[in-house]
Amino acid sequence: MEKPRSEVVLYGTWASAYCTRVQLALKLKGIAYEYVEEDLTNKSESLLHYNPVHKKVPVLVHKGKPIAESLVILEYIDDCWNNSPNLLPLDPYQRAKVRFWANFYDQKIIPSSYAVVLSKGKEQENAIKEFNELLTVLEEGIEKDFSTKFPFNGEREALGFLDIVVGAHACNYRALEEAVAVVVEPKEHPAFLSWVTKLKEYPLMKETLPPHDKLAARMRERFSLAPKRNIATL
C-alpha cells in the first residue's frame, strides 16, 4: 500500500528537461513538493494512473489531481500560485509573445536537436545547419519581440517563463556536444550563448539542472548509434 503523498507531487526523471522546467517553477515560487523519480522502462502504477493518455513525465499531482505536459503545468503553477514572481508577464500581448516563442522552441528547436543526435554523416551536417538556422530565427525573434535584452527577458532578477522553458533544455548543450557533436556555432549565436551562460550561472538553475558528467554519459549511452563528430569548421 502506497504511503499517502504530499499535497504537491512531481513524477519525473532526472535527465528530462521537461521535468527540470517544472522543478524550476516550483522552486521559484517556493512551493513545497515531493519528487518521485520514475523508471521509464518500468513505469509505476501511479504514473500510468495519472497520465493515461501519454504515460509520460513530468506529471504534477496537486491534491490528488494530475496535470501533464510541461507547458501546461507551468501555466497551472503560475495560475494557482499567483504570488511573485510571476512566470508569465501580466500583459496579454506580452504573454502571447512568450507563448509563441515557448511553442517555437518546443515544436522546432527541440525536434531539430533530436534530428542532429539521431543522424550521422552528411545528414547530421544538414541537421546541424538547420538547427543553427532555427536558432537564428529564435534569437532575432526574441530580440525583436522583447524590449529588454538577454538575459531574462525582463528587468527583474527572477527567471521568467522563457528562461525556464529554454534554459532547462539549452543549458545542457555542452553535455550533448560532448556526447554527440558540436551543435551550436558560437560565432553565429553569441546572444543565445550569452543568455544560456548567464542562465547556467543562476544559482537555482545550477542546483536544479542534472549533473553535467552524468548527463553526458547518459547521452553518449542513449545516442551511441550516432558517432561523435567534431565540426572542424568552427
Binding site: 496537486h62 501533464a68 501546461v72 496579454p92 500581448y93 502571447a96 507563448r99 511553442n103 530565427v137
Partner: protein
C-alpha cells in the same frame, strides 16, 4: 477600442477557430482574406517566422498561432470566457487543446497521402479520436460543461474539416457507432447558435479540398 484585423483563409480550420471566438465574444473585426500562393506584404510583415494564417492584428500588434490568439482574446475580452475560471479546469482544457494540436496532423496526412502512408494516418487519426472519446468527453454537452469553450473551438475546427476530408478521400473515420460521445458532441457544437451561422459552405469546401488533394498527390 483599437481596431482588430484578422488575416485568414476561408478554408482554414485554424482561421475558423479565431472567427468563432471573435463572434462568441461579440468582438468587431475586419477580415482580410489572404492568398497563400501570393502572400501579402502585410502577412509577411506580421508573421515573419511562419508566414501563416491566421494572424490577429490588434491596434497594429500581431498575434500568431490560433491557440495563442484564442488565449489572447480570452485574456483581453474576459466576457463570455473560453476557459474556465478554476486553475485546474483551465489546465485540463489546455491539456486537451495541446493534445488536439499535436495529433491533428494525422487528419491532414489522411488528406495529403495515399496507400500505406494514408493507412497509417487513418490509424493515427482513429487513435486520436478514441482518446478524446474515452478521456476528454464526459457526459456534459461540451468539453468544459454547458458552454462552448476553447477545447470545443479547437476540436470543432478539426472535426468539421475531418468531415470534408472523409468525403474527399472516401474513408469514414469518425463513425457514430464507434464514437457515440464525439458524434453527439459534434451535433451539439455544429448546431450551437453562433457556430452554425459561421460554418464554411460545404460544397465550396469539397471543391476546394478535392482540388487541393489532387495537387498534393501530384506533387508527392
Amino acid at each position: 477600442m483599437a481596431e482588430i484585423k484578422l488575416l485568414g483563409l476561408w478554408a482554414s480550420p485554424y482561421d475558423r477557430r479565431v472567427l468563432w471566438a471573435l463572434k462568441l465574444k461579440g468582438i468587431p473585426y475586419e477580415y482580410v482574406e489572404e492568398d497563400l500562393s501570393n502572400k501579402s506584404p502585410l502577412l509577411l510583415q506580421y508573421n515573419p517566422v511562419h508566414q501563416k494564417i491566421p494572424v490577429l492584428v490588434h491596434g497594429g500588434k500581431p498575434i500568431c498561432e490560433s491557440v495563442i490568439i484564442l488565449e489572447y482574446l480570452d485574456e483581453t475580452w474576459p466576457e463570455n470566457p473560453l476557459l474556465p475560471s478554476d486553475p485546474y479546469e483551465r489546465a485540463v482544457a489546455r491539456f486537451w487543446v495541446k493534445f488536439i494540436e499535436d495529433k491533428c496532423s494525422s487528419a491532414w496526412l489522411v488528406f495529403r497521402t495515399s496507400g500505406e502512408e494514408q493507412e497509417k494516418a487513418v490509424k493515427d487519426s482513429l487513435e486520436m479520436l478514441k482518446t478524446i472519446e474515452e478521456h476528454a468527453l464526459g457526459e456534459k454537452k461540451y468539453f468544459g460543461g454547458d458552454k462552448i469553450g476553447m477545447v470545443d473551438i479547437a476540436c470543432g475546427a478539426i472535426v468539421h474539416w475531418l468531415e470534408v476530408i472523409e468525403e474527399v478521400v472516401g474513408i469514414k473515420i469518425l463513425e457514430p457507432h464507434k464514437f457515440p460521445r464525439l458524434h453527439a458532441w459534434t451535433k451539439n457544437f455544429e448546431e450551437a447558435p453562433i457556430i452554425k451561422d459561421n460554418l464554411p459552405d460545404r460544397d465550396q469546401m469539397l471543391v476546394y479540398f478535392k482540388q487541393a488533394r489532387e495537387k498534393s498527390l501530384a506533387s508527392a
